[in-house]
């Protein structure tokens, strides 16, 4: 997860990576045995929910996936 976030931060991630990160977070959250695993993905999931635009502006392929933000 951290590795994937680092890729996004470095601007090397694609929209597919973002989707995969979200899937991974949900999977870890739902399949975990302990409370740590069940709650650790929450920061990623909530930032994705409320600040999705910020993730999307960092994507490497945003030009190709219908970028509208900057016109």
């Amino acid at each position: 997860m951290l590795h994937m976030l680092d890729l996004i931060r470095a601007g090397q991630a694609t929209a597919a990576d973002l989707e995969q990160l979200e899937q991974l977070c949900v999977m870890v959250k739902e399949t975990s045995l302990c409370g740590l695993g069940q709650s650790a993905p929450n920061p990623v999931l909530s930032t994705m929910k409320y600040f999705r635009q910020e993730y999307e502006t960092l994507l490497a392929d945003r030009g190709r996936t219908g970028e509208t933000m900057d016109g």
């Binding site: 590795h3 899937q23 991974l24 999977m27 399949t31 045995l33």
Partner: protein, 235 residues
């Protein structure tokens, strides 16, 4: 013993009281994938592959440690569960250096079989390529941490069946390793009885009998010349 009746995937099933969902499902020929379960030793519910959906429960439950309850409704094969299982297997592959082509367990590997069963055609996650040691200090056996999935079967079989507890787990997260005694080389372990139960328990090629690796398959071609010479002498 009291009987319990419940439903798995729409099929009405009766099980003994105290039986787990996994046992009941297996008795009725319903396949639930699992990696850390081993008949004869206790269950830990660690691999998360046997997770099932139970109606009325928000959480997914591991079938190997969940006892059956009267009239519970269990689903073992939903789209969500299939996707999670595949992701779990992929993460296991990404976490260590699983190179089937050079593995002693190739073709006899539970991880490999499960990857086929869940339909894993490739790994979507980046491989971690961790540095893992290989310990062949024991005269009979070897342990290759590159192939370990940390199912802890060896730990449980050593503790519960042999009663020795040579094996244990050290470290956390990505640094977790199965270790012998106080993390000394296996060959220097004072408690190990060399019973080989861990080799039997290992689902992958992590713990193996020495002599089984490709590098150790020495071909003594002099034997052919010897046989030919022996034949020539006699006739």
């Amino acid at each position: 013993m009291a009987a319990r009746t419940f439903t798995i995937d729409g099929q009405l099933i009766s099980a003994r009281e105290g039986e787990t969902i996994l046992q009941a499902a297996r008795d009725h020929g319903i396949f639930i994938p699992t990696l850390c379960h081993l008949d004869g030793v206790s269950d830990v519910g660690a691999c998360r592959l046997c997770l099932v959906e139970i109606e009325g429960s928000r959480m997914l439950r591991p079938a190997c440690v969940t006892p059956v309850v009267e009239e519970m409704v269990v689903r073992t094969d939903t789209v969500r569960l299939r996707e999670y299982r595949r992701m779990i297997i992929e993460l296991l592959f990404a976490e260590r250096n699983h190179i089937c082509a050079v593995c002693v367990a190739n073709g006899h590997c539970e991880l490999q079989d499960l990857a086929v069963a869940v339909g894993m055609d490739h790994v979507r996650f980046d491989y971690a390529f961790p540095h893992c040691d290989v310990d062949i200090s024991h005269p009979l056996f070897g342990v290759d941490h590159n192939r370990c999935v940390l199912c802890t079967r060896c730990v449980r079989v050593c503790d519960e069946v042999e009663g020795v507890h040579t094996w244990d787990v050290a470290g956390r997260g990505a640094d977790a390793r199965v270790i012998t005694d106080m993390r000394q080389p296996w060959g220097e372990s004072r408690s190990c009885t060399s019973c080989g139960k861990c080799v039997l328990a290992c689902p992958t090629g992590t713990i193996f009998r020495r002599g089984a690796t490709v590098g150790e398959m020495e071909r003594d071609r002099n034997k052919i010349a010897y046989i030919v010479a022996a034949r020539d002498q006699r006739w």
